[in-house]
Symmetry: D2
Subunit: 492 residues, 4 copies
């Protein structure tokens, strides 16, 4: 106990090893330890600037912290005898540089604002990475779409063959969905990247700290003004978890399709062996295991969201230790989402699509029956619902031939369609898949011209999004570099 | 069955009443029926503009639809024998105006794009209402804060008295949190308010529909380009549910506090009788039931989010009937959230705060011990950790007196503090609550000057937010009015 | 307000209509109103037996309550001006019979124990119904299995054709799973069917009530002894919700398969038209909508569970109004689960399985490759892993012929298998599907003999389960009948 | 790749390190590796008994496996280059003992039945441990109750002081709740402890394996007959997760109370320092952090349940790789629940209750007003509702004195109560807390006599439950010992 400089004054009592482990956030704190060193550096620079600590103290503290930054945090700082990495690092500094120096690190702040800052720094970096992966994923989808503009395939509703479409159209649906995931994460980034520092325990501090200066040093785009909100809220974390849930739900859908399409029934796609497993007993098996695990990861991310929301629900102000339990759920979801979508890029890029099988299936199931109904509307000025009923009746009888249509028409309208000029050739012409597709020319549809236009506009959009992601990344790197440079200058 | 013009062609078989009820979305569709009439009107106007239907058909359809708009949809259209309100209205029109007219309504579209459009229209209206309620809630919090700038109270961490703060500071924490809920919903609005119309079943249509024109007529700010994504995605609904979860989690926290503060222990607040219940057996009871139910509603909204996410997870493209089940979960959550936050406004506005009780408690629990440690740092140039330990040891002994500090200092440093000039008066002076509060001058802190600044800047922000919400509302009303006007003009 | 006899003493203040609606549990209480009348009757009988009320009061109260039991509760008792049905009925009795009589109903109890009792009565009845549905479902599965003992089909792992099986085997897997759902619900029943009555607000009462007598009158199998636990816990509700989640997860799996099997790809099954929908635009479509909605209902039930768990989590003792919010979530899940599984029975019973399609697919994808490897083990005493590798290599080359096996064997072992006596006939013989199936004779496997044994033992089990369910139902009906009979006797 | 004997035949392709890590279940498999060795041993013994492998092969395999059992599994078997521990161990045996021996291990089984068996073995052991912890927890609660039979305290509803109770009564409420958690887990145990072995991939095997024998060897109480269900279902895992959710929800409630009672407001309890933290900035703080983390752990366990349910929902038969993702969620929840409840035992046992504070609060808030109303009923034969209203009106006026009651009575009934003989002494007598408590004599109530009876009956129950738990543990240990003994005998 005596090693923990935070506990030593107020609390007596020997804690059991299990209790220490239970109380300590060390396992999760490994993921924010690097951020903590940056926060410490910026805090010391601010204390010096505000003349709260002397030049010499600042020098020595910064030297020690830069050493941690450069050589890494020693393992002893991660001992579970400390409740968290903040106590671990402070205790280490006290041990290394003496309490006269190390004991001055924690002036004018609390672990409450410190941990919130570290978590935000960690999450913003993860968002930056996730945004880059989303760009790669969308680029892959657009590139595949470009390759498959002419790959005709069946489109499905209710898992039934519905109407023909093109693989490009199908893939661009996902690209469009993922672009909204990009937007959501980018917007959340702006709420994540706010500094809680200076809030201390929740009431700020009597020391003349400079909140804006610290925020700027750490690359935050502003401060969370109200200091109680700054330490007590975790909606930034819940929001990011929510973004990841939606992204993973979309990813689970493409995985579901890859699994379906890999089935012997469809045979539309063959995943690269490196994404598959075989059976320990059935030597012939090649299973799309990676897609199955990704599909399942959506479940894990949803569960992490639930955990986090339940933890925060109903907590009074301001900081409660329950919030610690949110962190591992958050970090696990971030990891799962990042890994899943990253591997999805490669899984898609290395997959082989069987164009012939797709085309073969595209015409099955009377997939152009709607075109036939539409033609009856145009040609004979029938109400759509009447034409729809006639075609439906013909299908119920099992075929879309002139005679089936005639018989349905007679039943419904009292006269057949041949007598009004419909021929067998008209019928088979309108049922032609490629013609059906090329007739669909509105924006976003599967005709060649619409697909080309869509691909071109999506590329434009992607270029802008990538720039946006990289600009943010650049700002972060820039602020970090200049923080370290300045700290080195002071440390001498 | 015969009444349902959609089913009659393809499907035979008598359905049981329970099966009809199970399959039908009618119960939830009551909430989108008004939107459906608007969508129908805009669709007909577009069909006419594109010369897909003739002027006379357009006239008659619009007349019938305007009748529904003005007099309400007749109850028969809501019969569960129809699978949904779209079939109900179309069947009603066929019945009323004859199939020659009514049977032409559904040209160039499908229920898939139609229901997605209706849901988006409904949700955007609900967001508008929720944004207005959030503005009212935030205004109430700011007004209360203004009233309670001088209301000193204990601030809590871990439900322990921690440091003194002011009620204004506490309430502004919530205002700041709710302002992020406002921002999230406003951003989601822009993703909700996109038109899926023209996507038809998912592949668009061979008719030369005009997607942008319909979108404009209905006040959408653009189209969801890819037509498969347009009908298959529900991330807009999940996103709004996620926003509401976060908002309700924040609301549950303020309710938790109102419950705690209403307890005899705290006695900080008394809710108006109209928000309370008594006991059927204990005649003396006055219970904060409304706050308890609101706290619980957060659970219901989280559950609705889970339901919706689970429903969509793993669904292949494009439309699947599972999506129908998402709607009641969404609408229920929207209702619960709107009602809870709406009533929270009145509950807060009518509550009575007991300033004296709050002040009495503010100084308990050595709440200014941090100030004492800070003073030792400043006065004797002690490292903060050393000062923290000395004060902690004194507290463990049960009092913050000069002698307790001296004894702790002697134990830790080998010398006492009196000999360095510390007096009993110094100690009691630094422990003064109001002085402690006034020393905290950084932005967002509980000193009078910081609170005044915060209130002023939050008012500014609120004004801008209210304008933003009202502008959106105005656009919607404007587009609806001009749609109806134009429809009337055509209908003659 | 004045009409609510519970509120009138302690609370002033006019409540808004919205507030009343928010606070009132009336909507959900419609589902427990019948139970409440029974609870009231039993309570009055006990009060009389214990001489807490006089004979005359008992007579008049029982007369009034029996009138409610027989003619139904008047609509006015459901007004949202009452917080709940308990206040509604008491206020009605006070209005009808005068306060001298009606005002004596609530002696020695509280709404806290009353509502818990009503909810338990309602839930136990729902469990009884659900158990009966599960029996029907399992009987249907067994009957279908009996019909399809010889229906060979492919079995799947990872949605890949894996090994041949029989439809009977597949359906019995579900029957076995649903039988565990039966067991769980039956066990939960015993925890649900315990009486909280006599607990009053939580501390019981000073009146000499007779807890065991009331429990017996109402058909409870015992009392929840500790009176604080009796009113404060809802684990019985969460437990039932959990049972329903698991049952619906199993149901969602069979629905997923019915959807897959209905797809044009598989074509294994055709659901009856009455369980399907068509498309409003694509006249040829026949979609398995009912199965999709059931699959989605699993999501709603999981969400209801989450809502309920979140509501209870972290609540201090004893009763908190939050618990009211649990009820609608519970009742909705019960309804969804009951309806889904009930309709699943009919959907399965009316489905048409295409035996030929199933058999055709059973041999695809080298589905008996394991049998080949096994044969190599037996015939040539190869280690299984070696045989597995040889067959795997042959499949990778695209065929399971003697020459492919020889070439793999040569590559792996340095010698071919023909030279050891393997012939083309051996290979094709071991790959025969029916032979493969008939060789699997262990309990629970898909050979004819194992299936017959399984069907026979499952029937036995089902008979016992049905008896168990009916016995419970009989006890309930019996206790209700004798309660009413006795009440009538007293009322005269 | 080449090291993985399962993959080598069928699959080509080099996998990236990240892909291997993603696909591999190794991290979670560490928790089932010991179980896997037992399963392997039993499998080999059965293969020998059924003469599927020869005596010598059995000897060598068993020697190698016993070596793993005794000295631990070598680290190399846990390499992520293997997809799972089953492949890891088999590959290790092939490497160590040669393919001639090691390659025979996997005859007549698959990883599908193997992993299901391992998971069930692991979970049943965890249940045994959790049952023991629940016994300890309940014993602690009963022991504390015994100590606090006379500790009068306020009971709460809606967090309002409601009626007096005794700490013993309060603690026994939790004991009763936890005893249901015990019952649920014990019942689940019986569904967990069933053997899936012999199911192989899902269709069983053509080898004449002996399912009952293997089951018996491993201490299972029976076999899961249908072999498809045996490998495809995970309801056993979901069920256990559900049990843990409910248990943790109950634990979260007692933690909530410990936090409330630790607050300065209540001051009812002081947790031992070893379960508390202080603040890094506020030297006076002593926070009940352990209770907060436990409360939060309930959220994590609920989230794990959701993850698992979502993963399984909608999966078709039979095995899908998604199921792998269920395992870490399950194991994490088991760990969290076990650790939380284990530490809760010590936290309760070491806590100090302040009897005086409790008694002081017990009489506040007119906590015996119900007794007063009850007395008016008895003494003046008033209807309860009338008496309730009179007392409620008096409270609204702020005091429960004779004159306040008289004035309320006059207002309501037109006459006062003094005139009917009520005296000031009567009023104060009936309001006496201890008298009120002693009057509550029904089973489960807080009077001394009821508490003594409850404690005695709970001890009886606990004794029986502990025996039940230990009997199960004994059976497991016994079967394991005899398995190893028999294996050693064969290995020679």
């Amino acid at each position: 106990m005596q090693n923990d400089v935070v506990r030593r004054g107020r609390l007596a009592g020997e804690r059991s090893g299990e209790m220490m482990q239970f109380l300590s956030s060390m396992e999760a704190d490994r993921h924010i330890a690097d951020a903590d060193v940056l926060v410490d550096i910026a805090h010391v620079m601010m204390l010096k600037k505000q003349q709260i600590i002397g030049e010499n103290t600042a020098k020595e503290l910064l030297s020690a912290l830069l050493e941690l930054y450069e050589s890494g945090i020693p393992e002893q700082a991660f001992s579970v005898e400390y409740e968290d990495i903040h106590a671990g690092i402070e205790s280490f500094l006290v041990g290394a540089a003496g309490e006269e120096i190390g004991g001055r690190l924690h002036i004018g702040r609390s672990r409450n604002d410190e941990v919130a800052a570290c978590l935000r720094i960690r999450v913003r970096e993860d968002i930056i990475k996730q945004l880059a992966i989303l760009c790669r994923l969308r680029e892959t989808l657009v590139a595949l779409a470009e390759e498959h503009i002419a790959t005709t395939m069946p489109g499905f509703t209710h898992l039934q063959h519905a109407q023909p479409t093109r693989l490009a159209h199908h893939l661009l649906a996902y690209e469009q969905a993922f672009s909204r995931d990009f937007d959501r994460l980018a917007e959340s980034y702006d709420r994540v990247n706010m500094s809680p520092l200076g809030a201390a325990a929740f009431a700020s501090t009597g020391f003349p700290v400079n909140r804006e200066y610290v925020a700027r040093l750490l690359g935050f785009s502003g401060i969370l003004e109200n200091t109680m909100d700054a330490v007590a809220s975790r909606d930034f974390a819940l929001e990011v978890l929510g973004d990841l849930c939606l992204m993973m739900v979309t990813a689970s859908r493409i995985c579901e399709e890859l699994i379906l399409w890999s089935s012997r029934f469809a045979g539309f796609v063959s995943l690269d062996d490196s994404f598959c497993s075989t059976s320990s007993i059935m030597p012939q098996k090649k299973n799309p295991d990676s897609a199955e695990i990704m599909r399942a990861k959506a479940g894990s991310v949803i569960g992490a969201y639930v955990s986090a929301a339940v933890v925060v629900k109903g907590l009074p102000m301001s900081y409660n230790r329950d919030l610690q339990e949110l962190t591992p759920n958050l970090l696990r979801a971030i990891h799962d989402a990042k890994q899943s979508t990253g591997l999805l890029v490669d899984m898609l890029a290395s997959a082989t699509f069987d164009k012939e099988r797709m085309r073969d299936e595209a015409g099955k199931g009377f997939s152009t029956a709607t075109d036939l109904a539409d033609m009856l509307v145009r040609r004979f000025d029938l109400p759509f619902r009447t034409a729809h009923t006639i075609v439906g009746m013909a299908v119920r009888k099992g075929e879309l031939t002139l005679s089936a249509l005639d018989s349905a028409s007679t039943e419904l309208l009292g006269s057949n369609l041949s007598s009004r000029g419909l021929t067998e050739a008209d019928v088979s012409d309108v049922l032609d898949i490629e013609k059906s597709l090329e007739q669909k020319k509105v924006p976003g549809s599967p005709s060649r011209v619409s697909l080309l236009a869509a691909i071109s506009s999506r590329k434009e959009r992607l270029r802008a999004d990538r720039e946006k992601a990289e600009e943010r990344k650049g700002l972060l790197t820039g602020s970090r570099d200049s923080l370290i440079r300045e700290a080195r200058r002071i440390a001498g």
